[in-house]
């Protein structure tokens, strides 16, 4: 009975997570064609070993060569990683004081604060990003407010820029940074910072030498939860970034929907997976022993 438990979910996951990724890898190595579906070659199962032979012969690395040589894709990859890294850094900087404040809040308030942080995560992503258009556009609320205060003379040209994308990324992923940090900080033994303070360390020194090193697993988890999906983000650069902001998620989208180049879109997907799987493996090696120890 117990042995049968994993069978059904494992079959589902193999069919709808593993197989699709393998298929994407395969199609990223095929040639685009004006057919339905628009790619060659398809592995002919019925041809047996010969089918595999002709399949391997027809493998085509041009898509990856295109990705490597065309400046468009290099720029997109570079700006995806850069924007995701900057936004993750900003999130760490603003997320840490928020998580710390939550962990130090009165205990009966803490579940409510967590709920307040989670509710926006449940609220439509599309709508939350759309809300920023009305705020950031030149005749929008931000420019109007700042002009009324006399801080700026002319409306800000911030919508359709990388700055707007950074604001959107920071906004959308804030809970993903704060919650893992909070989870670690709330379990932290309050006697440790107290002991450091008793021994004469100032609040700043306590933070840098005691609290922050102990909160590191939360910071790493939060950074990964933010960085990984950000690299492949589509909605934020599409709605806030204008035509100048290229990110890999958006390039994949337009290769697929506008150019109908499925093999190239698949190659972009594989590239993102490699960019994303890299940090995940590093994280695993870093965190796995600690997690085992906690069991």
């Amino acid at each position: 009975m117990k042995r049968l438990l994993p069978v059904l979910p494992a079959l589902w996951l193999a069919a709808f997570v593993l197989l699709p990724v393998i298929l994407t890898l395969k199609i990223s190595l095929s040639t685009p064609a004006t057919a339905q579906p628009p790619y060659l070659p398809v592995l002919d199962w019925s041809a047996g070993i010969e089918g595999w032979g002709s399949f391997l012969e027809a493998l085509d690395f041009t898509n990856f060569e295109t990705l490597a040589s065309d400046a468009l894709y290099r720029d997109a990859a570079l700006s995806s990683v850069t924007l995701a890294a900057i936004a993750t850094t900003i999130l760490a900087l603003i997320g840490t004081p928020i998580a710390l404040a939550m962990a130090r809040a009165p205990e009966r308030w803490q579940p409510r604060l967590v709920a307040l942080l989670i509710v926006p995560f449940w609220t439509s992503f599309l709508i939350r990003i759309y809300a920023w258009i009305a705020i950031l556009k030149p005749e929008g609320l931000l420019s109007a407010g700042l002009m009324k205060l006399g801080l700026i003379a002319r409306p800000l040209e911030i919508l359709n820029s990388q700055g707007a994308v950074l604001i959107g990324l920071t906004y959308a992923y804030l809970p993903f940074m704060v919650l893992p940090l909070y989870a670690v900080l709330t379990k932290l033994d309050p006697r440790l910072p107290e002991a450091a303070a008793d021994l004469g360390a100032g609040p700043t020194r306590v933070f840098w030498t005691v609290t922050l090193p102990l909160a590191r697993p939360g910071l790493t988890a939060g950074a990964l939860l933010c960085f990984v999906p950000m690299v492949g983000e589509f909605i934020i650069p599409d709605l806030l970034g204008g035509s100048d902001t290229l990110m890999l998620g958006r390039v994949l989208w337009s290769e697929f929907f506008s150019n109908r180049d499925w093999p190239l879109a698949s190659a972009v997907a594989i590239l993102v997976l490699v960019l994303v799987v890299g940090p995940l493996i590093l994280f695993r090696e870093d965190e796995a022993p600690e997690r085992e120890a906690r069991r």
Binding site: A14, A105, S124, A269, L273
Partner: protein
Amino acid sequence: MRALDRIALTCGLGFLYAPILILVIYSFNASALVTVWGGFSTRWYGVLVADVPLREAAGISLVVALASAALATVFGTLAALALDRGGRFAGRRVFLGLIYAPLVMPEVITGLSLLLLFVGFGLDRGLLTLVVAHATLGLGFVAVIVGARLRGLDRSLEEAAADLGAAPARVFATVTLPLIAPSLAAAFLLAFTLSLDDLVIASFVSGPGATTLPMRLYSQVRLGVNPEINAASTLLVGTVTAIALTASWLTGRKGSA
């Protein structure tokens, strides 16, 4: 320090909620200009009610969300049980990886790879492919939520039932299931809202005649800000917030995680 904490919380929560509040307020704007306040009015809700394609899209989204959340809850719970109770079965690490993959995988990749699968097997894109894709997305979240509850469960209750002669199936139905029921409900609700919310995966795997609400909203958002979208968004935000509060109430009871 206390004052600094208060500032951090106020700014953080203000940053999270201000844009949503502004959106809701401007959905009651009489003016057609989104950034000029023209007095209170519910005219955009009237426009919304008369918008037949949008209503149809909402209907499709609801059907897909219900079906996919049900599937995700069943398979996600089985996955959580397997991880918690199944011992060290072969391929446990791969299994774990496959559960967590959809949680962090960029949506464009999930969408594209599932589409390639459906096309490869000659499945027509439509309601069925949407349900399968969203169930796969929700499965991992369900497994995480139910898994957390299972780990916090007092095993002695199940052992007591077994000692008193209950067969494993009866132990599960009369002891385990009632104990994890709140987390099942919360997980179902999360899977439901994830499906209701998804634009990217749906755009890949859906076909003609199966336009979901986010797809419909997105095509209008592309044309610029318009007050009718604000009204639609307000309704959606209200619905989802109610669901989220219910779920957090369900998981928050009796100190469960």
